[in-house]
């Protein structure tokens, strides 16, 4: 019996919510019963045992009040699974009994509300194992068939729904009984089997999803490790190039010097691409911290402007910075750095010689808005629809800078989403592009 009483639900079903829902449904049912009985008593004055019926409705109200108080006040909505199992069984038993007597006293099989047992069975099948559902349905069928037989044999009285419906009722009693019993049995079977099928499907989806997630994690970690390994050899290559350009290895011809400097530029690009892949792989792993830390925005901006200074100077691009020193944003340093370094590096990369890039930040209500504005090549509205897609690069971006992963903006977007912020972009071809990042503001106390 303990096995039968055990609830049979997936871990995703919030049983407390189901209990709350049951109680609410019962309040609605009680209101419906009172409304129908009241209307019948006033308007039709049928030959029904109204005192008994109103007593049943009263019992329904009192019981549901008790259930409500037990659940919400005594237990404060927190019940163990075993307690919930007993709680649901008590509710289902009382519901079955009350509905049975309500129906019995109002014409029994004459009364179309007999079929409301279908809903009761579906609700039972929603939370209990098939064994228990069949037990309840079996008991119901026996009670229905037994009562019908007892009525037929005049062992118990029949309470006609309409005056004078008696003789016809007894003539139709057998098919009505078979109809109701068959409906209840089929409903019990369908309810449990449909639920079982749905659960099997859900389990399969869950297993597939887990497998996919773990594969994805392996892939991201692999990418993270591999890209790291690439930096070592690149550092050595850069080192030798630098030894040559500094004349440490001996005098070199201007032509050799130019060739080596070109090689250095390409290895710099390669390094940027590797960093983008590392950031991308990082965003795909489960290592991204979500704890809301407060970070001084100005320090982040300054550090990134300084890092980018050589590239900006090489193109005589002026990088202007406007940010109040007290501004704090709700983002880890890593994510903040990823966002700002990628935005600035794009702005410098796609701006013409001698232009200006402005990075500014202001407080806007509960958010901090970071703006990065350039006077670069800009984008068409059609291109703007795709810029946050992975590996997408505009045609002109590819012309200006051959090396690139097309991951930068997708990384920025993922980082912004990770901290619960927003990103918007406005752009005009040959006029420039402006990105706005809205950071949630860090809480004022603590850092």
């Amino acid at each position: 019996m303990t096995r039968l009483a055990r609830l049979d639900v997936s871990e995703y079903t919030n049983l407390a919510n189901v209990a709350r829902w049951f109680i609410l449904l019962r309040w609605i049912a009680a209101a419906g019963v009172l409304l129908v009985l009241g209307t019948a008593a006033i308007a039709f004055r049928p030959a029904l045992p109204l005192p008994a019926l109103f007593s049943l409705a009263g019992i329904l109200v009192i019981l549901n009040l008790l259930f409500h108080l037990y659940f919400a006040v005594v237990k404060r909505g927190v019940l163990s699974k075993a307690e919930l199992g007993v709680f649901f069984n008590v509710q289902i038993c009382t519901d079955y009994l009350l509905l049975f007597f309500l129906v019995y006293l109002t014409g029994f099989l004459e009364n179309p509300f007999t079929y409301f047992f279908v809903f009761h069975i579906l609700l039972t099948a929603y939370i209990f194992s098939a064994d228990l559902v069949f037990l309840y349905v079996g008991a119901l069928v026996l009670v229905f068939a037994g009562t019908a037989a007892a009525e037929f044999l005049r062992l118990v009285p029949h309470f006609p729904l309409f005056p004078g419906s008696g003789p016809a009722y007894f003539g139709e009693l057998l098919p009505r009984t078979i109809g109701v019993c068959a409906t209840l049995a089929i409903c019990g079977y369908l309810g449990t089997s449909i639920r079982k099928k749905l659960e099997e499907k859900a389990q399969r989806v869950e297993i597939e999803l887990d497998r996919y997630k773990s594969l994805d994690r392996i892939k991201s970690n692999f990418l993270l490790q591999v890209t790291h390994e690439l930096r070592g050899p690149l550092a050595a290559v850069n080192g030798y190039h630098e030894m040559i350009t500094r004349g440490i290895t001996g005098a070199v011809s201007p032509k050799t010097l130019e060739a080596v400097e070109r090689a250095m530029r390409r290895t710099d690009n390669l390094l940027t691409m590797i960093d983008e892949m590392i950031d991308y792989a990082y965003m795909q792993t489960d290592r991204v911290p979500f704890e809301p830390v407060r970070t001084a925005l100005r320090e982040l901006i300054e550090a990134n402007v300084e890092l980018l200074a050589p590239q900006a100077q090489a193109k005589r691009i002026r990088v202007e910075m406007k940010c109040a020193p007290e501004l704090r944003v709700c983002a880890s340093r890593d994510l903040g750095n990823i966002i700002i370094s990628n935005l600035l590096s794009n702005a410098v990369k796609y701006s013409p010689q001698g232009s200006t890039v402005v990075i500014s930040a202001v407080q806007e209500a509960a958010e901090v808005c970071l703006e990065v504005k350039d006077q670069g090549i800009g984008m068409t509205p059609e291109e703007m629809q795709h810029i946050f897609e992975e590996f997408y690069r505009t045609r002109r971006a590819r012309e200006i800078e051959r090396d690139g992963t097309g991951l930068g903006l997708s990384i920025i977007k993922k980082s912004v989403e990770a901290i619960g912020g927003r990103i918007t972009v406005a752009s005009q071809v040959d006029k420039g592009t402006t990105f706005h990042i809205y950071f949630p503001e860090g809480e004022r106390d603590g850092r």
Partner: protein, 123 residues
């Protein structure tokens, strides 16, 4: 001004290039291609500053132990970590964990490296 620098890295090319470039800047350079050799040289040549890698063939975080070891023997010796790991987050450690004074990503820009070394040598 000069200063004694010990570079500990298992990559001989990094030892060669970083060593040559820093020697060209006027520093006295000692190199070690393993943590053991590095610890030995730390005691023997008493460097003014140590440049340390983190990933070694024996383990991806061997440099961690090396830093702790050096710190326990020479509490005031500045350690600059130079590593291919370009973001601290990637391997879940911080500058404090490594007991380093600075944390730089390879490839390092010479200007920045020299600046840092001079700052820590009090120049």
């Amino acid at each position: 001004m000069g200063g004694k620098i010990l570079i500990i890295d298992d990559d001989s090319d990094i030892l060669e290039t970083t060593g040559s470039i820093l020697a060209h800047e006027g520093f006295e350079i000692h190199t070690a291609d393993s943590v053991e050799r590095g610890l030995e040289l730390t005691d023997k040549v008493s460097p003014d500053i140590v440049l340390l890698d983190i990933m070694f063939p024996e383990s991806r975080t061997r440099g961690f132990d090396a830093a702790r070891e050096i710190r326990s023997r020479h509490p005031h010796l500045p350690i600059i970590v130079l590593t291919a790991i370009n973001r601290e987050y990637a391997f879940d450690f911080t500058k404090e964990d490594i007991k380093a004074v600075e944390f730089l990503n390879k490839p390092v820009r010479t200007k920045k490296l020299v600046e840092l070394i001079r700052r820590h040598l009090g120049g």
